[in-house]
Symmetry: C2
Subunit: 299 residues, 2 copies
C-alpha cells in the first residue's frame, strides 16, 4: 500500500474545492456586489473542508473522474457555510468570531448576513441541478442528490437540530434531546456527504445505505469530540470562544455523560464506521483516515 498523508489529502481537496468556489461564486450585478462579497467572505474563510473531503473519499471508491463530483462537494460547502452564518447571528448563537475571523454579520451587518445565508443555501441547489455544469451526471442522479440534500438540511435534518439546540439552552434537557440535536445538527449532513459520493458514483442502494451510516457515525463522533474540545481547549486553539457551550448552557455529550464515557462513545462510533467500509479496501483508505482523524484531532 502506498503511503497516505491525511494532511496532504485534506489540503489537496480543500484547494480544489476553494478554487472551484472562487471561479463559480461570481459577481452577478453591480447592485449586489456587497451580497456577493459577503457570500465569498464566509465561503473562503477556510476551515477543514471536512464535508467535501468525505464526499471525495466516498466517491473515490466508485469512480476516479473527480471533476464530476467537485461541483457537488462545493455545493455542500455552500450549504454548510449558510448554516454557520445563520447560527452565528445575534438571535441565534451570537458569536463574534468564526475560524479566528469576525463572523459574517460582524463584517457586513445582520441583514446582509441573513441574505447571504439564504443565497448560499439556494445556490447549493442551483449548482447541483445545473445541467450545464453537470453535463456528465445523469439527471436522475442530480435530482436524487438535491432531494436528499434538502431532507438532510431541512426541518427533518440540520435546521431541526439547530432549533432543538436553541430550545435546549432555555431549560432542562435529557439524553434523548442531546442525541436528537447532534444527530440532526451535524450527523445528518455528514451522512448525506458520504451517501452523495455513492449517488454520483453510481453506487448501489446498499452502498448508499452503508456509506450514509458511516457518515452519520462520523458526524456524531465529530460532534462529541467538538463538545470535548470546547471544554478543554483554549480560545486560540479553537478559533472561537472556548468553553462557550458551557457558558450558554448548551446540551452536550460530556454535560450528560461525563468526559470519559463521551470519549468512549466517540471511539465506538468510529470503530463501527471502520468496520462498515472494510469491504471496499483499499479504496476505503481515505475514509478510514478521516474517521480516525475525527476522534484524535486536537482542534
Amino acid at each position: 500500500m502506498t503511503t497516505f498523508n491525511l494532511e496532504e489529502y485534506l489540503t489537496y481537496w480543500a484547494k480544489k474545492t476553494e478554487s472551484w468556489l472562487r471561479d463559480n461564486l461570481l459577481y452577478y450585478n453591480e447592485q449586489t456586489v456587497g451580497l456577493t462579497d459577503s457570500m465569498r467572505y464566509s465561503i473562503m474563510a477556510g476551515g477543514k473542508r471536512l464535508r467535501p473531503a468525505l464526499i471525495y473519499s466516498a466517491f473515490g471508491i466508485f469512480d476516479n473522474d473527480f471533476d464530476k463530483i467537485i461541483p457537488y462537494a462545493s455545493s455542500v460547502e455552500m450549504l454548510h457555510t449558510y448554516s454557520l452564518i445563520h447560527d452565528d447571528l445575534p438571535a441565534m448563537d451570537d458569536d463574534d468570531y468564526r475560524r479566528g475571523k469576525p463572523t459574517n454579520h460582524k463584517m457586513f451587518g445582520e441583514a446582509t448576513a441573513i441574505l447571504s445565508g439564504d443565497a448560499l443555501l439556494t445556490k447549493a441547489f442551483e449548482i447541483m441541478l445545473d445541467p450545464e455544469i453537470n453535463t456528465d451526471v445523469d439527471v436522475a442522479l442530480r435530482a436524487e442528490a438535491a432531494h436528499k440534500l434538502a431532507v438532510a438540511a431541512g426541518d427533518q435534518g440540520m435546521v431541526g437540530g439547530q432549533y432543538a439546540d436553541i430550545q435546549a439552552e432555555k431549560g432542562n434537557f435529557d439524553e434523548r434531546t442531546v442525541e436528537f440535536i447532534h444527530k440532526h445538527k451535524t450527523a445528518s449532513l455528514l451522512g448525506y456527504c458520504t451517501e452523495l459520493g455513492a449517488i454520483i458514483g453510481y453506487g448501489s442502494e446498499d452502498d448508499k445505505k452503508r456509506l450514509r451510516k458511516f457518515g452519520m457515525n462520523i458526524g456524531l463522533a465529530f460532534q462529541i469530540v467538538d463538545d470535548l474540545l470546547d471544554l478543554t481547549s483554549s480560545t486560540e486553539e479553537m478559533g472561537k470562544d472556548a468553553g462557550s457551550d458551557l457558558k450558554k448552557g448548551k446540551a452536550t455529550y460530556p454535560g450528560i455523560y461525563g468526559v470519559d464515557k463521551s470519549k468512549l462513545m466517540a471511539q465506538e462510533l468510529v470503530d463501527e464506521s471502520l468496520a462498515l467500509v472494510e469491504c471496499y479496501k483499499p479504496a476505503s483508505r481515505p475514509l478510514k483516515e478521516i474517521a480516525s482523524f475525527v476522534v484524535n484531532r486536537k482542534k
Copy 2:
C-alpha cells in the same frame, strides 16, 4: 364562453393549496414541534395565493390533471412564505404585522423565525424533487423545475432584489436601481411561476419563454401597483403599515416616476402580457383575468 368569476377561481385554488400544505407540513418530531408550529403559522396565514393561482392558470393551458401541479404550487408558496418571514425580521424591514396578524418573529421569536424561513426554503426543494410525491412527473421535469426555482429565488433573483432594496434605503437610488429591485424581488419569482406551469405541463421551449415573460411583466406591474397602494391606502385596507415605504425611504416607482406615469407603466406591462397569451385562447382566460386584477386591485 362560460362565465368566469376570478374571485371564485382564486378562492378555489387557494383552498386546494392550503389543504395540501396542511396535510404535508407535518410534525416530524416532538423536539421540533415549535418549529413546525412556526412554519405552519406563516404558511396558513392566508393571503391572495397569487403565485399558486398563476401556476395553476399556466398549467391549465397544457393539462387538466391538476393533482400533478399542486405540490409544485405549494412548494412555491412555501418559498414565498420564507421570503416574507425573513423580510419582516428586525434586521430587515422590521415589520410587526403581516396580513393583519403579528409577524412570525413577533409570535415565535427571531431565532425560530430565521430557522422556519430556512426550513420552508429547503422544503420547497424537498417537495419538488420528492419522487414519492411526484410519481407522475418525469424526473427531468422535476429537476428543471427545482433548478429554475433556485435561479429565480437566489442571489441572481429574489434574494438579490431584497439585498438591493435594503441597500437603497441607505442612500440615493436611481431608475436602474428601482427597476433592478422590482424585477428581482418580485418579477423573477412570478415569471418562474408561469414558466413552471409550462414545464410540468410538457410545454415547448417557446411556451416556457412566452409564459416567463408574461409572469415577469405581471410581477413588475404587481409591484408598481403595490407601491401605488402603499401611498394611497389606509393601514386597515393594506393589512400592514400604510405609507411605510415612504417613511423608510424605499425605492419605489411612484417615488421615481410619479403616480400617473407609474399607473401607465403598470397598464402597459399588463397589456403586453395579454397580447402574449392571446395564442392560447380560450385556455388563457384565467391568466388574463389575473393580469387585469393585478392592475385594478384596491388592496
